[in-house]
């Protein structure tokens, strides 16, 4: 059994012929088909909404995105004589509401995530995680109606305060003085809805902060805050940004909660506190009830725009979260 042999050349790797059984071939085909379903569904959504909205998109062209006129006139026979469809005000409103939401939710979420990971005792941490997961599972209609009947009066009062003390800041200007059902109100409701999302992403990222570096910081005499600033924040920064983008995407697509608290007006309004806003998703619910088949095509086109917008935001968010999740290890 001697192995002392003359140097032999290294052979080329063998071709492995792993011929799977028939049952495995079927299994792999079925699972792959199931796995591809997400691709198929997303593709079909884009194709069908584009196909239905194509007529409108072609006749309106770029105006669909840049004008705010939404009118349709019909003759007595019900034929469309003239129509204008533009969602600029809705797009601006969607962006405004979601930015307000993220601006409020981001600091709150980061603070509560820090609290859960580094300050709260174990039992409190467990309770908070359960509460926040539960908040994420609550239906949006619950937030909408609660926001309308309970939260709105307080938020309108806060809006007045903001305008009173910070009215000199350009984005807290208010003219005319109408604060009911403003993008600010919608933004606050959305903020409450996306706090659980941003908090859980941030908490996850913070908890991956390397323990040895945390201990090294403490061993150098750092206070808790100094440790967080030196170790946790640099580690989690881009992950938190990704979480905020996820929240932004969710806020942009939210329908029912926004619809209940927002006053929808077909006019571009950049004033956060002014009671006139827009929202693509709410537009669809608002107009769907009495829409003619022709107008529904315009709603489909609006849906396509919303779909692509949220898809892009989510894709960016996912890329950021994923890349930091890897580099963090």
């Amino acid at each position: 059994m001697s192995t002392i042999a003359p140097e032999r050349p290294i052979p080329a790797p063998r071709e492995l012929t792993t011929e799977p059984r028939f049952s495995d071939k079927v299994f792999r085909a079925v699972v792959t088909a199931g796995g591809l379903s997400s691709l198929i569904i997303l593709g079909l959504i884009a194709i069908f909404l584009g196909y239905r909205g194509f007529e409108i998109l072609r006749s309106e062209g770029l105006n669909f995105l840049t004008s705010s006129d939404w009118s349709i006139s019909t003759d007595d026979a019900g034929n469309v004589t003239e129509s204008h469809f533009g969602i600029a005000a809705m797009l601006v409103g969607t962006i405004l509401c979601s930015i307000v939401a993220v601006a409020i939710a981001l600091p709150v979420s980061v603070f509560s995530a820090l609290f859960m990971n580094f300050y709260a005792p174990g039992w409190l941490k467990k309770i908070l995680i359960a509460i926040i997961d539960m908040m994420a599972a609550f239906p949006s209609i619950l937030y909408g109606i609660w926001g309308f009947l309970v939260l709105m009066p307080s938020v309108e009062y806060w809006a007045k305060l903001l305008n009173h003390y910070f009215g000199w800041l350009p984005f807290f200007k208010l003219h005319p003085y109408v604060v009911t059902r403003s993008p600010f109100v919608a933004g606050v409701v959305l903020a409450i809805m996306i706090i659980p999302i941003i908090t859980s992403v941030s908490r996850e990222i913070f908890s991956q902060a390397p323990l040895d570096r945390i201990q090294a910081a403490y061993a150098l005499g750092a206070t808790r805050w100094a440790m967080i600033k030196a170790v946790v924040i640099p580690h989690g920064k881009s992950g938190v940004i990704g979480g905020a983008m996820l929240g932004l995407g969710r806020a942009m697509g939210e329908t029912v909660a926004v619809y209940t608290v927002l006053n929808i007006v077909f006019q571009i309004n950049w004033q956060v506190l002014l009671g006139a806003g827009g929202n693509v998703a709410s537009l669809i619910i608002l107009k769907f009830g009495e829409a003619s088949p022709y107008e529904i095509k315009a709603l489909m086109a609006a849906g396509l725009v919303l779909f692509l917008l949220t898809l892009i935001v989510n894709a960016i968010a996912e890329l950021i979260v994923r890349t930091t999740g890897k580099s963090g290890r």
């Binding site: 059994m1 192995t3 032999r8 290294i10 052979p11 790797p13 063998r14 792993t18 011929e19 059984r21």
Partner: protein, 292 residues
């Protein structure tokens, strides 16, 4: 002068120390290949293995006679585990894995095109480093799980169950609670359950990848007894880091080593020989504990 004095002292020690590895190896019943009729055994011819571009194992030629126990020893990372995984074609599960050479079971190449991989794995069973009974199954179901997995029908399930647990040395401990979950057993019992599970499909060869490394000494001893009993009826290849164990259970021992490049098989001899008069200097260094 000084050196020779030392080696003399060592020689004295190896001969006088009652638990020296060579003595341990000689203490058990010695087997001679070919005395039992159980197929023609297993041969490997020029086995190489790669992970991606990383050449991890180079040109291993080893014969395993039927009915013998062969221990594979060597430092970590020398390709022992990779080698036994090429034998029952578990190697190919790792993405990027490649191999060269032939594994002949009863003279037939297990890598030959058209070979049914699952049949090969039924003939060459495997026991893993960490005990891994299937968590969703009872003790009894675990033992018979191989039959269900490979869709084999047997008429005398209860007999088979008892026989396999008996051979794995577990029957007396579990016969009253075959319906309990595998997870309720101790680590050593779980590993013997995994051995019983591997036996139920009646393999010719049993591969054991450091089966005792996660166990306490008492459980290790039980498993070693089991291995000695099993070797009456099958060929066993065991990877171990424990040279005492190799000396206790194996008839043959092969020493693997990597010098930074791919792992190689340095020497294979009867166990009593490799521990008393190794032919290769590197083997000697390893078995006498000078490195590794």
């Amino acid at each position: 002068m000084n050196e020779s004095h030392e080696s003399e002292k060592e020689n004295m020690e190896t001969t006088t120390r009652p638990s020296s590895l060579a003595d341990v190896a000689n203490a058990k019943e010695q087997k001679v290949p070919g005395t039992r009729a159980m197929g023609t055994g297993l041969e490997t011819r020029g086995i190489h293995a790669w992970f991606g571009n990383n050449h991890v194992l180079s040109d291993v030629n080893l014969d395993f006679a039927a009915g013998t126990v062969t221990a594979l020893i060597g430092p970590s990372g020398c390709g022992k585990s990779t080698f036994i995984r090429t034998i029952n074609r578990m190697h190919e599960f790792i993405p990027g894995a490649a191999m060269a050479g032939e594994v002949l079971l009863d003279g037939k190449d297990v890598y030959a095109p058209g070979t049914d991989v699952t049949k090969i794995r039924l003939q060459i069973g495997m026991v893993f480093q960490k005990p891994n009974p299937f968590p969703s199954m009872t003790i009894g179901e675990n033992v018979l799980s191989g039959l269900k997995l490979s869709q084999q029908k047997v008429s005398n399930k209860d007999e088979l169950l008892e026989e396999c647990l008996e051979r794995a040395g577990l029957w007396n401990e579990v016969k009253d609670r075959l319906g309990a979950h595998g997870g309720s057993l101790s680590g050593g019992q779980q590993q013997r359950l995994c051995i019983a599970r591997a036996l139920a499909v009646r393999p010719q060869v049993l591969l054991m990848d450091e089966p005792c490394s996660a166990l306490d000494p008492g459980s290790t001893l039980r498993i070693e007894e089991t291995i000695r009993h099993l070797s009456d009826t099958m060929t066993i290849i065991i990877v171990t880091h424990n040279m005492q164990q190799a000396a206790r259970v194996s008839d043959y021992t092969a020493f693997f080593l990597s010098d930074g490049g791919p792992g190689q098989m340095i020497e294979a001899s009867p166990t009593s020989e490799i521990f008393s008069r190794p032919r290769d200097k590197r083997t000697e260094n390893y078995v006498t504990g000078r490195f590794g």
